[in-house]
Symmetry: D2
Subunit: 499 residues, 4 copies
């Protein structure tokens, strides 16, 4: 019998087996576990546990909250292999890639340890005669996170460490494709000393999500996923009066300028395009080559370099990337490849049909390179989320930038150049939230914040870093004047009579 993955509520692993769903090992294509899908009652139970824990948790000095994060970091590092194995088994990403994901997540825990610094309010003396005013950033209460399959550990870690150190309680609904890492994190948090009820995990599908979006005790919702769902989450949570940040899809372009060092470009592009099978919202999926001559050389070098890529099961550290998440997704990615060819693009390297030996039933798509892609093609317009790199050829940098600025997404982008002026003009004028200069995956470090523009993010504030702190707190402004100096001056004239 396959094991059933439940929920983590009020410090306990709980099961809720009315509904469940298969969890696959994408490397083999086999069902490995079942995951319970929370009912409304279960989600409400998690919210109630969180709400009950809130009063004490918000009152705990921030240093006390932060010390649990210091300990949590230690435990994450001590249990690295275990977490990476869970990620690999359910997601399919190679162990070294899972380790990279986890490391990025740990960096958010490290930043959360700086809460005493970033939670400081602003104090103004004498805003009027004898009047002082200051701000406090108080926690919201119970907040929810809804996270995607592609980073089962990192994206939750973008959210809850910041939310918790700010004094909130948390209900996490991870992806039902790979729920185990979240549950493991919950147990490590408990081991680190987190009081029960402060952090809860509910597994589930839209039923659970809709409870979170509508429940009046949920104060804020953080979401990462595809744009259509992000739009739904944002509209629904806000229609219920909540604050919401909903991060959606992407189509990340790299402009390669004629003065770029091509060896460097090719080396760094491969990982950015094919790492984690391209299932990253920051995956570099379009190269905009300025000039045909450059494009010809670039395509030649990339296709040569791609011959060395190894695709296979997550557990073999020698592989470069693994399967995609489901059979359906494999089909969808292959459909985009077919459509590009049909619409006139050149299939330089076709990854369809790859079957690593011993893993013939896994959900594999090989690295794919498509040249002569144009903006009207479906494969250009939509997010593929697979190991597919497309080349668009343009004549000028202005044309390249116009292309990027016209796309509906604005998550990440990059320029390859060594010219200071080109880089500065690009980063100033490109309508994209995260910009790399010779950095193909410009994910901001944990002490900055993550956020795309346009349809890649709905909301005002990005994920983690300083924006995370602001998102998970409510400003309270106190203005204070004390009445006449009765006690102070009273003390002065009443004393002699006592002497």
């Amino acid at each position: 019998m396959t094991p059933i993955i439940g929920h983590f509520i009020n410090g306990q692993l709980v099961l809720d087996t009315a509904r469940s769903q298969a969890v696959y090992n994408p490397s083999t294509g086999q069902v490995s576990k079942q995951v319970a899908l929370a009912s409304k009652a279960t989600v409400e139970e998690a919210i109630a546990a969180a709400q009950a824990a809130f009063a004490d948790w918000r009152n705990a000095p921030v240093l006390k909250r932060v010390r649990i994060m210091f300990k949590f970091k230690e435990l994450l590092e001590a249990n690295r292999d275990q977490i990476c194995a869970l990620i690999g088994e359910e997601h399919g990403k190679i162990v070294h890639d899972a380790a990279g994901e986890l490391q990025r997540g740990i960096e958010n825990v490290e930043y959360a340890c700086a809460a005493p610094e970033f939670l400081k309010g602003e104090f103004s003396k004498n805003v009027g005669p004898g009047v002082d005013s200051w701000s406090e950033f108080q926690p919201l209460g119970v907040v929810a996170g809804i996270t995607p399959f592609n980073f089962p550990a990192m994206v939750p870690l973008w959210m809850f460490p910041m939310a918790l150190v700010c004094g909130n309680c948390f209900v996490l609904k991870p992806s039902e494709r790979n729920p185990s890492a979240s549950l493991y994190l919950a147990q490590l948090l408990q081991q680190a000393g987190l009081p029960d009820g402060v952090f809860n995990v509910v597994n589930g599908d839209k039923e659970a999500v809709d409870v979170l979006l509508a429940h009046e005790q949920i104060q804020a919702v953080s979401f990462v996923g595809s744009t259509p769902v992000a739009r739904y989450i944002y509209a629904t949570a806000t229609a219920h009066g909540k604050r919401c940040q909903a991060l959606g899809g992407a189509k990340n372009h790299a402009i390669v300028m004629p003065d770029a060092d091509l060896d460097n470009v090719v080396n760094s592009l491969l990982g950015a395009a094919f790492g984690s099978s391209g299932e990253r919202c920051m995956a570099l999926s379009v190269v905009v080559a300025v000039g045909d001559a450059l494009a010809d050389r670039l395509v030649a070098q990339i296709s040569t370099a791609m011959t060395g890529l190894k695709v296979g099961a997550y557990s073999d550290g020698g592989n470069d990337f693994g399967p995609v998440i489901t059979a359906a997704h494999k089909e969808k990615v292959e459909g985009y490849i077919a459509s590009a060819a049909e619409q006139g693009a050149t299939l330089v390297v076709d990854g369809r049909g790859v079957q690593p030996a011993g893993y013939e039933t896994g959900f594999f798509v090989g690295a794919t390179l498509i040249d002569h892609v144009t903006p009207d093609m479906l494969s250009y317009q939509e997010e593929i989320f697979g190991p597919v790199l497309q080349i668009v050829r343009v004549d000028t940098m202005q044309e390249a930038m116009a292309l990027i600025n016209r796309h509906i997404y604005g998550n990440g982008t990059c320029i390859y150049t060594r010219d200071g002026e080109a880089a500065r003009y690009f980063s100033d004028h490109i309508q994209v939230g995260m910009v790399g200069i010779n950095i193909p995956l410009p994910v901001p470090v944990a002490y900055h914040s993550f956020g795309g523009w346009k349809q890649s993010l709905f909301g005002d504030l990005g994920a983690y870093g300083p924006d995370g702190a602001r998102f998970y707190t409510r400003r309270k402004t106190i203005t204070q004047r004390w009445p006449t100096a009765e006690v102070r001056e009273g003390a002065s004239f009443s004393m002699p009579t006592l002497g």
Copy 2:
């Protein structure tokens, strides 16, 4: 023929007379002007003008933008009387109250002059070996402000000075009850050197609002008004993917503790309750007296003090407050008074039927004091927005705080005490965004931010101050690595051959 008030688009006063609506002088109850109600086309014209002006305006160095605000401040001060007269005539507030409103508005202009400071991004050296990362807070594009009748100058000034110095272009839709002040401000901005198109005013009603909420070039919406409309604005703007901050209604309580200095309490309460006829979202409308003995003394002193209040036309500086905004609103306020009496409260002072000599047709309601109000009464549950002060009696401070925390609004609140512990406990645990300690109207100064909690504000970020800067900008994070030291080292070996 009554004059028609039009719009200010692309540096020009324009008329759009298909639809218009009467503007009243509330002190006389007479129609004084007509205001044009913008059609969809007119609003789109304003948006287009703003969009066209954006490219140059966002590129202007912040110091250049700020210097226009320095000049604008001078012009506001030089034209103080003129602006206050416009406010008084259309809103009804007494000239000294209008002057106070304007001064608060000017303080936002002063703060906007600090943009070079508050727009600084964060720079991190060596986020990795040879990799730097920094954030820039870039303008959004065209943003909209929708403002209420009760502060025809101040609330617009909460919004556009901050939006403009951040590099945005602006479309303001002021209240159709008193549109003139906004148009006047637009002209002063132009005189201060603002390029045409950067700031635009459209007058109108829901038709205009709905265009702003749905138009794809509007990046963000700031709203101040009642909670039902705020909820609509927030849900609609966000459903269109925009960022939105929507400030709604309030029910601001003051707790009076037994150790409070009653003379001081009464003095400061009168203005807070009746100033501007109570048509302020920070008006102090409920006093929670702790202990009956205190309540008795308080009611006695307040009712005595109220006998000195003078109600009348805006133009007489000797008056304390003026009419309410419309005949319908007068009726509504009087209805709340009636309902309180019907539901069992004690009408200590009844302001209904007040008719200042010479202004018998004005929309006046006199200062009203109601005692023995209980939480189940309609007059307690809803925002009256009139010169009505209600007394709720409780036995303990905990009971007082529970009462406040149960209310759906969380805008402002105050405690009167001289005890440090009571004040600190109150400000920590009260579920209200703006807290006064012996300050009945704790409106944050311009260098802090304005924002209530619960149903008093939808969104993450408050109005003006640091939150305003964050709301009107989009974070962009650049991560930069330069390729190999070709030029630098090339310089080193190539030189000798040139020598």
Copy 3:
């Protein structure tokens, strides 16, 4: 033969035995070890090691530096008992007091982990057309810390964690009275992964100090000690062109107001006055009682409570405080007691002659209470640094504040009251850097900064916290404009010819 304590230079324990000095166990009064006194050459060796390590250390990404601090925190916690024993043995403070000292030190390590946040520079786009400007806070190079006997672990931990995460290398000269804790910390740092040479300890006396003050590779000096030495350090280091912060002595007063809760006052005063034998620069050594009636009650309650205090050896956790540091210091403290009596004060409790059983040769002074102290007495004017609490009686709060403001020191102070107005007036107008409201030892937490006013601190910036970060870094401001758009536009017209 007594063990000899050496130095820690370039990752090695080294001896330098030309000169040495006895280290006592103050609880027994016996010599327990010898400490080597560094020669000029030894100090120069340490500086050279630090200078050699600087180039790599400053280039290490801040996250790498910070992770060593994360690990260091773990090691400090794991070795708590060992460190406290070293402190107790050489300083005499009771183990629970040593644990408190260490915990405060660890909090500085925790704050240092926030370096990625507090080291961020300020980035300004478009300071002129096409011109950007930003600041970087770069490390200074080799910096020195000279620390006192009274906190052998905490004061070094105020300094070097901040200095190191900012990218500096460090030479510590701890007190020659109790050098062992510093050496132990050095070894834990190494174990945490700190590269050799980055942190060095030299033991010594004025000879070593003078090398540090004059050496051209020492960029900055942090000092904590007595005011005469602080003045010398400040004048000498600055005369050599260095930056310097020199923290000196104190005379910390608590005002007790008539509305204070006396039980609470007495409870909290005892520890603040007698803890660590009063050998703390934040020790509360003067109580200013407002009104004779209050003073009488206060003296009665304090003297009663003092009967329960236990004085004895560091190793017995049941003791309240231990010996003073040396026989000479014991004599000096007793001299102040005698002088107070001679000058007319009332010796309420006389701690002279205390000899805990089994420790008759230890350097003990018992808790002493002196009443009717006046500002002209020597015991009032100078810092006693012993377990002596003095009472000054005044009639008014103004008189109490004037007294404090006239004293040459301005380190810490406190008021006991429950009145908000009195507290606010006090904290606003008192000429003291660290102010407590009902907090007798208002040492700022690690994420704020420590610093007195007047002769308690020479320099602009306090110790640790945000000031520490600023002190240990040099601002560099870069202003950048890129030349004409050659590459960018060149790309645009040259491409077609390649097509």
Copy 4:
């Protein structure tokens, strides 16, 4: 009879004629005025006036202080021509250059208007259970500025606007060469509403300076001048226990890389080298050309361009630069030119002996270009402070950087390149405080701070901007806990008995 320039003390122009000194018009070489040299008593009078004004000024809400600066800005702009004429007449710089100086000064006034933002302290809730802590940045008291002849308006404006808005009172001792601008500024401040005594000007020489350095009521000293004097000021002020920032001399190098756009280099270099006769601490006085070929072209282009430079009297806006400050200084500059030639350098353009028609007795030195300068030459090692540009030739960028890093000064520097990597490496590793990328005069804008490294600045904090705010304030940290909830809970049980 020549007019005598006195002092401005307590709102009055006062004379103190015991000693005086000639003030020259450098364009004519004639004495135009006398300046009184303050006696010890006069300086003490100014300090006493400032001290007397302090209590009220520090208590004024910051917004009130700031509004005087808003007004002062208006007055500076309205009196621009008058101020520039005063500068030109006594300093000799051409009117357009004086206007630039004044504009830079006004920018500091604009920044000072942001004081409500930059003076905010840090507020931390719950640093322990029920304990809050916050910092306030309080003014120091009376502070002094001692300013140089080369920027008679700008350098004072670097200092006092920041000092005043922070709540300090100020005593300015401007250069006795050109004292009139300061007195004029003092009068405008008064006109802007500054209370008497808050700002005072004393003219004088070392006698006055020494009073300021030693007087116990002077809390801080800001100085700008030559390094030997800066060193004296720093050592003396600190020996008196004061905080001090002393900005000294400079030798600012520009590296020209082979990829630089030479036309751009030459255009921007001329002003940077010869503007204001090179009498600027940020003057670009050394060009380091990488490669002989480049050097040859550069020297050719510069010398050609220099033929168009016009030297003459301040009043003719067509001139490029004017005379140096004194006859003695002219002689000194010419001495450096002679020495360079004697030590083997090539005098490409020799500016000695220039005598503009009609101004034959003025203190003129023409623009001078010297090639083949080497580090061992006197003209390279010392600051010339005249219109002399020297070329050093090196083979590599590393060599160029080593040269700069070896110099005793570290004020400003610049690199000309279009290569991102070279620029980043340079700005990271160069030991200079203010770095330009293609910006020859990288003076930080007013919202950043000015400060060199090494012997160009003694102290921790730079001038103006955020550092200025920190320098002119003292941190006070308040830690607050309120005693038991007596009033709050008392209220709860005592009420029924009152009912």
